[in-house]
């Protein structure tokens, strides 16, 4: 009996065979000793593969191809045909159009001569793009918390660390302040880590075995001012609405305010805290919670442009109470 492609197609359709099974049949026939059967088996396979590649969505064809390969590998009688399937596959499709995700399944020459290409500089820019992204993703604040309090031990050390990522932007400084506030106590002793870093970056700063139990905010602020003299501290506060900003305690709040007071003579930019609801609601609430209960020397709302009209004199405590209610409403 003559096995034509048409017959095969009809046969498979009649039995509702899956794509994998169709390919399996085609491959088995392509292995036949009879030349005619072999040809029609091969053609049938190629027709199927063509259809696979024609699929517009890369992911769909990838899933199907992977499915077929897995099916062939796992079935006892067909596993020996995997290689011929791969061959057909690469024959049918120019290599540069093969999605990366299929690379490990296809033959090893998938990446043939890739290094030769690399050598002749085909992809140089891509590396630099990744590198640029990496640099932009580097978080100075996280690094400081990994290094620990030790990096603010004196001006030279602090400068050394901060200058790893110049220029210092307002957003970076804001995150640094966030980290410092959050970790004002209880940071594990990372002295070793810090010391090693200094020697590793070839620091000129000497590494004395001094141990700090908290951040030295004076050193930090001075270093920031030195490295970024034109920094806009109002803008720094405006950047506080970032993931992870949280004021855990009253001391942390005091610490934050002492940094601000040392850094900047301007009144605290209330609008950054109060004007709108932050993305990081928890962070905003934590700030307000301690802000309203702080004594006026430390924090005051008196600069606010939108004060409630007070008809009569109120003692401070009551006023705080009002403010608290007000902000609660505002935030919720």
């Amino acid at each position: 009996m003559m096995i034509s492609e048409q017959l095969l197609t009809d046969f498979c359709d009649e039995l509702h065979l899956s794509a994998s099974e169709k390919i399996g049949i085609g491959l088995a026939l392509a292995d036949s000793e009879n030349v005619d059967i072999r040809t029609s088996g091969q053609n049938f396979c190629m027709g199927q593969i063509e259809e696979l590649w024609r699929n517009s969505a890369v992911i769909d064809s990838s899933v199907q191809i992977q499915n077929i390969i897995m099916f062939l590998i796992s079935s006892e009688g067909l596993s020996k045909h995997v290689d011929s399937f791969m061959q057909l596959l690469s024959l049918m499709e120019p290599k540069e159009r093969t999605p990366l995700i299929l690379a490990p399944l296809l033959s090893d020459d998938f990446y043939d001569a890739r290094n030769m290409e690399l050598f002749y500089g085909c992809r140089e820019n891509e590396f630099d793009a990744i590198l640029a992204e990496m640099v932009s993703e580097t978080s100075m604040a996280d690094i400081m918390s990994e290094l620990g309090n030790g990096c603010t031990v004196d001006a030279s050390h602090c400068n050394e660390v901060l200058s790893l990522f110049l220029p210092l932007t307002e957003a970076t400084v804001s995150r640094i302040l966030g980290t410092i506030t959050r970790t004002h106590t209880g940071l594990e002793d990372n002295q070793n880590c810090c010391l090693t870093l200094y020697s590793a970056i070839g620091s000129s700063a000497t590494c004395e075995a001094s141990c700090l139990s908290s951040w030295n905010v004076h050193v930090l602020v001075d270093s920031i001012k030195q490295l970024a003299p034109n920094i806009n501290w109002i803008n720094v506060v405006e950047n506080l609405d970032h993931e992870g900003f949280y004021i855990p305690s009253e001391q942390a709040f005091f610490l934050f305010m002492s940094i601000y007071l040392r850094a900047c003579q301007d009144p605290f930019p209330l609008h950054a805290i109060c004007r709108s609801v932050w993305k990081n609601v928890d962070g905003q609430l934590s700030f307000l919670r301690y802000a309203v209960s702080a004594s006026p020397e430390i924090f005051t709302f008196s600069y606010s442009a939108r004060k409630l009209l007070m008809r009569f004199h109120m003692d401070l405590q009551t006023m705080h109470g009002y403010l608290l209610t007000f902000w609660r409403c505002c935030v919720s």
Partner: protein
């Protein structure tokens, strides 16, 4: 054809020979003094006298290559290939009988490989040089091709060439053979083939080291070596060229050898072994001045360092410590720069977890002024900080290392040697691991995708990418960021125009990411299974030759064939060598390889557990509970499966069964943990977690994200990368049991279990919701209300409660 024949097979007259030899001498002089264009001119003259002599053509190619500043390996590669074809043709024409003889010669020689190689070398060179002539020519050319592949990081290709050359190493002249072997050591390490490595190092030690040691001991090695060259070169002019070729290679090779490494390094560990010494500057012409004698003196030291590298590779730290000490002593004795030994020592301390010491040694080891070195240095520091858990700090170093590489790449013209030092892809892999640890899955996926250029056949790479997908899903990053999809489905040439969003229609926003995760996991599983089965089948082509070899030697005391994975094809070979030499130091190498294979097997087991657990999760997410069930079952069937993963498998299986509407069977999976009626015993203990962590630590740092899976199980609420605490796991079982019974209508049981769940994990939204459901079903509306009010302090993150809905 006639003229070619005569040039290669019939000896020229004595007079001609003198003239040619003198011209050749001039050419070589010009080459070695860096006057490449002059050298090319002389060689061209020579070519006119000698017809298309392949050797001269070969030399011209090399000289031209240097003339162009080593910047066009492709051209050199093509020319060398042509020359090879040409001389193959010549050899063929010169008569079949020659081949027969050569085969015969090869066989007899290989039987006694290593015993009295030097004698063989001489005899073969003097008695049958005509027979071997063709072989020699191509072997030098082939070696040069292998060098090019090596520098281009194409280790598999270099391996194939070197292996075939190594099979007929006997007739080669000593210098070429040594280069071959040393290069092969590098390539074998880079290809993760420790057995071949031991084979070659045994051979080199026996064939060279002993004689070299005696030579250098009496202090006249240089003289001896050079006189050896002279005698040989004067004997026959062609032989002479061969030597010159060898020297030309040497300029390539010497850099190769010193750069070593290039490896593998996927595991960041290996990186530190990289690069080792680069005593000579990157500029090749300087290297030309090196005499072979220089090499001979340091060969012993080099072999020592190679051994250390193998021991580090196989993680035999004790032996590595001993050997590196010896290497340091040898360095001191010779007053040599010991930066390589220091680097290796640093790697050793890194591997043993003494990170401070590792940093100290690393800093002592190099001057960091060279870009290649400083990229390695920064990368190694990055690895160390990564291990210290300072992920963000490590990113400073990795990005520094990458920018070193970037400036290296921008040096114009690009030289092969410079390219060889460029480890960007390896470093980028490390970056990927680090970003995954930092919780930046999208950037991590980008890094891994880039690194896939070289690591695409690593199961771990695909596991990592899958983890990136899962983490991105978990963090809800995919909705806002399309890059993940694009980078991973990108076609090789960056063309993703074909990408269409057609499948979004099926209603799942995250469908693509889940699908990608699925594809990656299947890839990884496929690769893992393939590597296992590859080890088990020892039917590789060269195994047969070695078996024959073994039989012909027929020594009684061969070790029993080793059943351990990986040893198949090479073991017979190793044994054969061993019988001849009985070198005890290298039996130590072999035993550490066997240990290493055991480590690898365990690691693969761990990877497989993580893979299958991830796969079940993804299949559940994709809505294929029946597939998920069968995957969960295969996870349960894994031998030596950690109790943590058994727990996950049971929970996942239960969930699949629930989705398949088979709650009774689901309950069975959970009831396993119910001891004596009503109490759930801990599914796993703190020790299980510790053990997993410890093994991870010892084994490979890539595993660090492997625990990601733990979180996403039906009731597991923890969003952390660490495993659930055993107690919480216990609570999860209670919660799941409650849910299963609630679904079956057994509200009494359900309530009992949910109360227990709440007592352990009071903040779990899933547990609370189940409790509320049960309360409502029983009719305790008031209690349900109270619980709902308690819930106000709990954040319900959108999307985290899907499972409750489906159960």
């Amino acid at each position: 054809m006639d003229s070619k024949d005569s040039s290669s097979s019939s000896s020229p007259s004595a007079e001609d020979e003198t003239v040619l030899s003198a011209t050749a001498g001039l050419a070589s002089l010009a080459f070695h003094s860096g006057k490449f264009s002059e050298c090319v001119d002389i060689l061209n003259q020579l070519l006119q006298n000698k017809g298309d002599d392949p050797k001269v053509l070969h030399n011209i190619a090399i000289a031209r290559y240097f003339q162009d500043g080593c910047s066009d390996p492709k051209k050199l590669f093509e020319v060398l290939n042509n020359v090879k074809k040409q001389s193959d043709g010549l050899a063929h024409a010169s008569g079949e009988h020659a081949e027969d003889i050569s085969n015969l010669g090869n066989n007899t020689v290989s039987g006694s490989k290593g015993t009295n190689n030097v004698a063989n070398q001489f005899s073969s060179a003097s008695s049958s040089h005509i027979v071997y002539d063709g072989d020699l020519d191509t072997s030098v050319g082939m070696l040069n091709i292998a060098v090019i592949w090596f520098h281009l990081h194409e280790y598999a290709k270099a391996y194939l060439i070197l292996d075939s050359l190594y099979q007929k190493i006997e007739p080669m002249d000593e210098a070429t053979a040594l280069h071959l072997c040393l290069l092969f050591l590098d390539v074998a390490l880079a290809s993760h083939d420790p057995w071949k490595f031991v084979d070659v190092i045994n051979y080199v030690e026996k064939a060279y080291c002993f004689s070299l040691v005696t030579q250098s001991d009496n202090g006249s090695s240089a003289q001896q070596q050079s006189s050896y060259l002279v005698t040989k070169s004067s004997s026959l002019s062609e032989q002479f060229y061969c030597h010159r070729f060898a020297n030309a290679n040497e300029s390539l090779l010497s850099r190769t050898l010193s750069e070593e490494n290039l490896e593998s390094l996927i595991s960041s560990i290996d990186l530190s072994g990289q690069n080792l010494a680069r005593p000579s500057g990157p500029q090749s012409s300087n290297d030309l001045s090196r005499t072979p004698a220089d090499h001979s003196i340091s060969t012993g030291l080099k072999l020592q360092l190679y051994k250390v590298r193998l021991l580090l590779f196989t993680r035999n730290f004790k032996a590595a410590k001993r050997e590196v000490k010896m290497a340091m002593a040898m360095n001191v004795a010779r007053g040599k720069d010991s930066s390589v030994a220091l680097l290796l020592k640093s790697q050793l301390e890194y591997a043993r977890g003494n990170y401070r010491k590792a940093v100290k040694l690393l800093m002592a080891s190099s001057n960091r002024t060279e870009l290649g070195i400083s990229s390695i240095y920064n990368n190694n520091l990055g690895c160390i900080y990564y291990r210290l858990g300072k992920y963000h700090t490590s990113s400073i170093f990795f990005s520094k290392a990458l920018s070193n590489c970037s400036s290296l790449r921008k040096e114009k013209p690009v030289r092969l040697a410079t390219f060889s030092q460029d480890k960007s892809l390896q470093i980028i892999y490390n970056c990927g691991v680090q970003y995954l640890a930092c919780g930046k899955p999208i950037l991590a996926a980008r890094c891994f995708q880039k690194a896939s250029l070289i690591f695409y056949s690593w199961p771990l790479l695909w596991l990592r990418i899958a983890e990136c997908c899962l983490m991105a899903l978990e963090k809800g990053l995919v909705k806002s960021d399309q890059r993940l999809k694009f980078t991973l489905l990108e076609r090789e040439n960056g063309d993703n125009l074909l990408w269409k969003m057609g499948f979004q229609g099926n209603g799942q926003v995250d469908f693509v990411e889940k699908m990608i995760g699925f594809l990656c996991l299947v890839n990884a599983l496929y690769l893992l299974n393939r590597s296992e089965s590859k080890y088990l089948n020892s039917g590789s082509p060269h195994s047969s030759t070695f078996e024959e070899n073994d039989e012909s030697v027929s020594d009684g005391d061969s070790k029993p064939p080793n059943p351990v994975v990986g040893s198949g094809p090479f073991n017979a070979n190793g044994d054969a060598k061993d019988q001849k030499g009985g070198n005890s130091a290298n039996t130590a190498l072999q035993s550490s390889i066997l240990d290493y294979e055991e480590i690898c097997r365990r690691e693969n087991q761990m990877i497989k557990q993580a893979l299958l657990a991830d796969l079940v999760y993804v299949e559940l997410e994709l809505g294929n509970p029946s597939k998920a069930l069968s995957t969960a079952r295969s996870l349960l069937e894994l031998p030596e499966c950690s109790r943590i993963y058994i727990f996950l498998a049971n929970v996942y299986a239960a969930e699949s069964l629930c989705l398949l509407n088979r709650p009774k069977e689901a309950a069975e999976h959970l009831l396993i943990y119910l001891s004596s009626g009503s109490n759930v015993e801990l599914p796993y203990t703190e020790e299980d977690c510790e053990q997993w962590r410890a093994e991870k630590n010892v084994d490979c740092d890539e595993l660090n994200g492997g625990s990601l899976t733990a979180n996403n199980s039906s009731l597991d609420e923890s969003q952390d990368v660490v495993f659930l605490k055993p107690g919480e796991a216990c609570g999860t079982v209670y919660g799941n049991l409650a849910m299963v019974f609630a679904v079956q209508g057994d509200l009494v049981q359900a309530q009992r279990f949910v109360m227990q769940a709440l007592s352990i994990i009071p903040d779990s939204p899933e547990a609370i919701v189940t409790a509320i459901y049960v309360d409502l079903m029983i009719g305790k509306t008031q209690e349900a209300l109270t619980k709902l009010k308690q819930c106000s302090r709990i954040r319900f993150i959108p999307g985290s409660l899907t499972v409750n809905g489906s159960c």
